[in-house]
Symmetry: C2
Subunit: 561 residues, 2 copies
Amino acid sequence: MSICSNKRLSVISLGGVTEIGKNILCLEADDDIIIIDAGLKFPDESMPGVDLVIPNITYLKKNRDKIKGIILTHGHEDHIGALPFILPELNVPVYGTLLTMGLVERKLLDRTKSKTQDIKKKFSLNVITSEDKLELGCFKVNFFRVNHSIPDGVGLAIETPAGLVVHTGDFKIDQTPVDGKVMELSKLAQYGEREVLLLICDTTNAQREGYTLSEKAVGITFMDVFARLKGRIIVTTFASNVHRLQQVINAAAEYGRKVALSGRSMVGVTEVASKLGYLHIPDDMLIEIDEAKSIPDNQVVIVTTGSQGEPTAALTRMAQQSHRQVQIKRGDAVIVSANPIPGNERLVARTIDSLFRIGAEVIYSVDGTVHVSGHASKEEIKTIINLVKPKYVLPFHGEYKHMAPFAKLAVEMGIKKEHVINAQRGERWDFHNQEATLAGTVPVGEVLVDGLGVGDVGNIVLHDRQVLSAEGVVVVVLAVNRNGNILAGPDIVSRGFVYIQENKDFMNKAKYLITEELKKRDASKFKNWSFLKEVVIEVLSPFIYQHIGRRPVILPIIIDC
Amino acid sequence: MSICSNKRLSVISLGGVTEIGKNILCLEADDDIIIIDAGLKFPDESMPGVDLVIPNITYLKKNRDKIKGIILTHGHEDHIGALPFILPELNVPVYGTLLTMGLVERKLLDRTKSKTQDIKKKFSLNVITSEDKLELGCFKVNFFRVNHSIPDGVGLAIETPAGLVVHTGDFKIDQTPVDGKVMELSKLAQYGEREVLLLICDTTNAQREGYTLSEKAVGITFMDVFARLKGRIIVTTFASNVHRLQQVINAAAEYGRKVALSGRSMVGVTEVASKLGYLHIPDDMLIEIDEAKSIPDNQVVIVTTGSQGEPTAALTRMAQQSHRQVQIKRGDAVIVSANPIPGNERLVARTIDSLFRIGAEVIYSVDGTVHVSGHASKEEIKTIINLVKPKYVLPFHGEYKHMAPFAKLAVEMGIKKEHVINAQRGERWDFHNQEATLAGTVPVGEVLVDGLGVGDVGNIVLHDRQVLSAEGVVVVVLAVNRNGNILAGPDIVSRGFVYIQENKDFMNKAKYLITEELKKRDASKFKNWSFLKEVVIEVLSPFIYQHIGRRPVILPIIIDC
């Protein structure tokens, strides 16, 4: 097509490089854009109160007409979670495998509170297989199957005007996957025989030596553990880890146990995965959580959410004995079949400790292979590089601590140092005549979702929340008439500061000091409320710091009487 | 002594069981009490703004006259850190080894802003060696040397009216300690030949198989790494890990590097440890941090605080390029010679990532033995149990997840199940006629230190801080005269809630709704301020939740005009 004749490709990450989370990558050629993934990120401790973080899509909204589609590599939140926010704004076709699109549909239904037929009418949601080939403007997109901690993941081989781009998606090379579907390395070998311009590679485990263990290793542990356990078994894992759940079901079948599901996402994902044929549950095996009580303990497995110690998740409530249906008791065994995501360590540790306190046996990371990663370690990454033989590599799905060992490894394998593109978010990398150049930047950033608000919480609000959280707030109210006469106050109210009942003297002294200082000042200036507020802060801030060494938010409020 | 004739012993933990931190244990017999350790704990994320957590010593203040002394096992914060708060209240003799007491003195000087001679005049601070024997009322205290991640640690063998009690202190069995001083297992063997009533045992690593590696393993890594590195080396570790520092110095000497120290506690502890002979630094090796710039990079080592990613620590500031004297640059290598303490994982990860971003080589846990634990693993604990042959065991320095595997291990070794005492804080365990019984409880709890305030932040304040942190605060002010006429307002001010400039309409609507609701209500009730406040909350809370799905702290303030 002549319109694709300029042989130029731009690669722009709006999220997912120099970070783990909110993956979204744009490929642009002539007047065509394709988007790979549209993920969210969970907030860190610097964002109190924030529910989700999604990418800034200003650039995409501005170039809405160029976008030919969004291609999803797999169904994890950090790859599909921003769709309910982004899709209504862009409304472009979405492509993904059967399970991925099943999870997308569920997500869109949840967020938009619509019906299935409405969703399907409103949006163009398209199921592909790894054998399909998509023509999206200047791009021809081929797929190859990968292994990952969710079934039905794919990588992409994209023919672009500037050359062939291979995108691994999130992957590991599992030689014995639970569903028997090994990664399509032969396709990668074929691409490698042609000239691959760019490999975009998952670097999550680029710092780990050797190979990531097969998912089946966990199944072996389950069989061993189920063989010896005599009481009730509770397994917690990520709801989306369908193969993990399959292995729990296999062990349950082997040892004559029924399975009950607990937690909204566990029930939801299981429903989708079963319906679409990714999860095989023997007839009569699934029971309602309420039925579990009427069956002997040694015939029950409960599979539950809460592997990250999330405060409201089912296992967390069970561990706090506040779950309505399941009370953990001595004799129960809890298998924590997941590692804490960075930042969740303390929450997970607290749940584990609470379970031990109740007297349950807890089987977790110290006890052997109860979890394996879904991401490739060094040897697997090397295998991919050797098969694909790219000219350029671009690490994604990693922070600097993953990008650095990835770069080292790539260079050791013969990639030129200057051909390792450590892209920053928003950077536009242009490929032309087999050369890559940094050709500018586009707007990027984090859009915070808090409750129903999307983007109404920013740095100022977060900063205030942090100070409020550490030091509390002291509100000082003065009533003033329009001549600047102080009619009432100062009244002082605080929250999160000190225990008020025991610090009345302190508060009274503060009031006295403000009153005395105001007497000394030029009352004619009191019509200027900013001046009044400054006086309050000037008096109160050092007084509080000297007396109790704290710096609360001081909020002077002047009311016009 | 006839006064000790009742042959009864009480053991009470006021802190340090079912938790890691704020260790403080009381042994009581007749009218005598001895206290073992007086530590602090660092706050967790449920205590925003809190600096330190110390034990509640109500029981000790009430029994002040019985207390014969405080015996310190070693100089870590979780064993001595509460002394500056507790000692002024109790003022009883303190006993510890030379290094421990050196660190205590420094700590008391810091907190009380006094001079050395005043501290020594005011408090009875006594240096003991592991060969000493203390007679403290009904108790005869013997010491044995242990290995740990700070030099000069001791365990205790206490002859009590009810029998012999062995307390391991924090320990590991290092067969090749850096200072050559192996743990005095022969003493433990001798106690084991007598009848040991109770073993109080460090359980921190009771879930870990095998042996904890020798501290020297880290020295070998240092030598290997120093041999190959060509640029500047920055090492971060705990300031109190004197042997770790010694090994850095040894490697620096071997490879012709000078050493600069960074961070207040690093400089302070090094000073104490050198002066007291625990740290051997060749002449001319130490340089000031400012001098480091004028020396070639390959001749410099900087040893710094910040191994836990603490926001204000030296390494953290270096990683953020905000340190006045040290700018990290490409070519630098940073060795993170410490593991994150639970809860600090994300802070540590962030520091490591920032260092990689700058282009430094970062050598951390994934790169081999850059750190070893100071606590005994299963095989070491078994060794102690076999040597001491106690009738009872009481796990300390552990949460439930450590206590459970410890109990399992003890029972496997022949301790009766009912002789494993999983003591709760505040429980009084009585030993009499070789029998242990739970004989009541004493007050316990966490006293929070925030700035200069000790104990003035409690659950209500913390709860408010948590809500403020997640949702912010909305203040509504109404000016009312004594007849209940509303003279001004409602005025609304918020912090940490939404970005105000962009939400003026929302705020105006809220004001309007309150005003309208007040018009509908019976104005004669407005003299009752609680009623007015309730109306404000009743209107505002659902309005805010419906519109943006948040539940901020709503603070109605009525001012009397």
